[in-house]
């Protein structure tokens, strides 16, 4: 979220009108405004269930922003894990114990000053980290995923019809044709990925590649940790 805002703040005066992605930025402003409002309401409301529901709006806003910058995998994970599981569990717990309707006077509000201080500190640290890390990076919205391709021969039979049409290939269907790199690049992106042998590098692929090679140890460690927590929960629950 902040990254996109920073890009606007840093480079806003350098962008020409054609480069400035208006629909995306309007959408960002609406989502961010809604998130800020809900975040403030979440900590100031005196009804616990309302607080959890405002949290849903904040988390849905985060997911929407992820989808807006093209990371739909992270966005969907955000929805599945946070809204579909964690907040549901919160609501479940609240409703089983103290689901009072209306304002609840016993909700603590004395430690608000401490909360404000912690929040400001976190904001400063994260803002510094983001400005430092993304100083001159521009976010490119909705760019097609890159496709890797080695020039190779194909049987015309194996090629999808639109590819054959687009390249103007003629001949008996059992013939072999060579599709070289310039020909491949002349295809529109939605056809490129359908040529046999072409490999699409999307977000999903990059995430999968880095999780199962570079971060495999961390990934396995987290899996074991979660399994331990699961078994622990069962043991604690069955203790009687």
């Amino acid at each position: 979220m902040s990254a996109a805002a920073l890009v606007l703040a840093e480079t806003g005066d350098r962008l020409t009108r054609a480069e400035f992605d208006i629909p995306e930025n309007v959408a960002f402003a609406i989502i961010a405004g809604l998130m800020l409002f809900s975040a403030v309401k979440m900590v100031t409301t005196s009804n616990v269930v309302h607080a959890a529901l405002y949290l849903v709006i904040v988390l849905a806003g985060v997911a929407a922003l992820f989808i807006l910058v093209g990371s739909d995998f992270v966005g969907a994970t955000q929805i599945l894990v946070y809204i579909g599981a964690i907040v549901v569990l919160f609501l479940f717990g609240i409703m089983l114990t103290r689901a009072r309707l209306g304002d609840d006077e016993t909700v603590e509000s004395e430690r608000r000053t401490m909360g404000v201080v912690v929040g400001l500190l976190l904001f400063v640290v994260m803002a510094f980290a983001l400005i430092d890390g993304y100083e001159n990076t521009e976010i490119v919205f909705s760019e097609p995923n890159p496709v890797a391709y080695e020039p190779q021969s194909h049987q015309i039979d194996d090629l999808p019809t639109p590819v054959v049409d687009a390249l103007g290939i003629v001949g008996p269907s059992s013939d072999e044709v060579l599709i070289d790199t310039p020909e491949f690049e002349s295809l529109p992106p939605e056809l490129q990925r359908r040529v046999p042998g072409a490999e699409v590098f999307g977000n999903n692929k990059e995430i999968a590649d880095s999780i199962f090679s570079q971060y495999i140890v961390a990934f396995e460690a987290v899996s074991v940790l979660l399994l331990a927590a699961l078994i622990g929960a069962v043991v604690v629950a069955r203790k009687e």
Binding site: A76, I79, L80, V87, V88, M95, T161, G202, N204
Partner: protein, 343 residues
């Protein structure tokens, strides 16, 4: 986007997509209610069903909707008004988000997300929030119990639902719904590509688990403990009346239709039928019709089970999910993975 060689502006595309989404959600819902809920259910129970409104009762649905519109929109005095009023919309929103990723033809889709199936499963879990909101805000014990039961059930059956889809994703090698359809259309069974390779053949276990989990996610009988009328009146819907009850009602059957679209896409080849080149423009026209036919087939199974089996008990329901469906779907993933690597 170009339709009939007219280049459409952004707002025109958006309007078209919104209209298309509304049709894709509401048309199957209405058809399901009339053909299956009114007529097939009557047939199963040896009665005629609605016969008065229109020929063979075909306008009964219009009458029902008209009745719901006329009724007073009642709020219980102690209810939390805003949450109570918003809850049906949250449930319906999850349905409309779900239809977004379903493809209806080679170029006929709403959004072509790379994470299609994953996104669909993620947004389908949002409806739990709406149900919990409705149960809590009604200020009624039965509603709250119904809401909690529904949440427990939906969480339990989300797991087999996700795990059953994993087999298809491993076999197709993609999460994108459009590419899953193409993988089935271009697939071959032992070198024979006559009918492609609809994943119901190789992933039959996955399909069966998906169907059972779907039945539970839709809280259709025999999984309707959250609205069990003999114990909980109508569960989280008890206090709702008029237009808001209608929204819950539409939500129930629209979600059945949209979930069946996802099932048809994953297991039955989606908009594709054997014999026609999947890249042919023809599919942009007949694709939605093919999809509709497949949806009616899947929902027939759902409603058949609904009319046939008595309701589960709460503990039987949880046992089925955790001790039968989840181990089976894990087994399915292991087998699919091994076969994928072996072949």
């Amino acid at each position: 986007m170009t339709v009939l060689s007219i280049e459409l502006a952004y707002w025109q595309q958006t309007t078209l997509r919104v209209l298309g989404g509304a049709v894709a959600v509401l048309l199957p819902a209405g058809t399901l209610v009339y053909i299956y809920l009114f007529k097939l259910m009557s047939f199963v129970q040896s009665r005629l069903g609605p016969m008065e409104a229109g020929p063979a009762g075909s306008l009964q649905l219009v009458a029902e909707v008209g009745k719901a519109f006329q009724k007073e929109d009642i709020f219980p005095r102690k209810a939390d008004r805003i949450v109570f009023a918003a809850a049906p919309f949250v449930v319906l929103m999850s349905t409309f988000l779900l239809v977004l990723v379903v493809p209806f033809g080679p170029d006929a889709w709403f959004v072509d997300l790379d994470t299609g199936v994953f996104f669909a499963l993620a947004v389908s879990s949002v409806s739990v929030i709406g149900i919990l909101m409705a149960g809590w805000a009604s200020a009624n014990k039965y509603s709250l119990l119904g809401g909690l039961r529904a949440a427990g059930q939906l969480i339990a059956y989300e797991l087999p639902l996700v795990l059953a889809v994993m087999g298809v994703v491993i076999q197709a090698g993609t999460l994108n719904m459009q590419d899953i359809v193409l993988a089935q259309a271009e697939g071959e069974i032992f070198g024979w590509g006559g009918i492609g390779n609809p994943f119901i053949l190789t992933q039959f276990l996955g399909f069966a688990i998906f169907l059972v989990a779907m039945q539970a996610e839709l809280t259709q009988p025999p999984f309707d403990m959250p609205v069990a009328e003999s114990e909980l009146v109508s569960g989280y819907m008890t206090e709702y009346s008029g237009i808001r009850f209608l929204l819950f009602f539409i939500g129930e059957f629209a979600t059945a239709g949209v979930f069946s679209m996802v099932a048809a896409t994953l297991f039955l080849g989606g908009w594709w039928v054997p014999g026609i080149d999947p890249d042919s423009n023809l599919f942009n026209v007949i694709g939605p019709i093919v999809m509709f036919a497949k949806v009616m087939l899947v929902t027939l199974l759902i409603f058949w089970f609904r009319f046939t089996y008595p309701r589960f008990r709460e503990d039987q329901l949880q046992r089925l999910a955790w001790k039968v469906l989840i181990p089976l779907s894990l087994l399915n993933i292991v087998i699919t993975g091994v076969l994928k690597v072996a072949f």
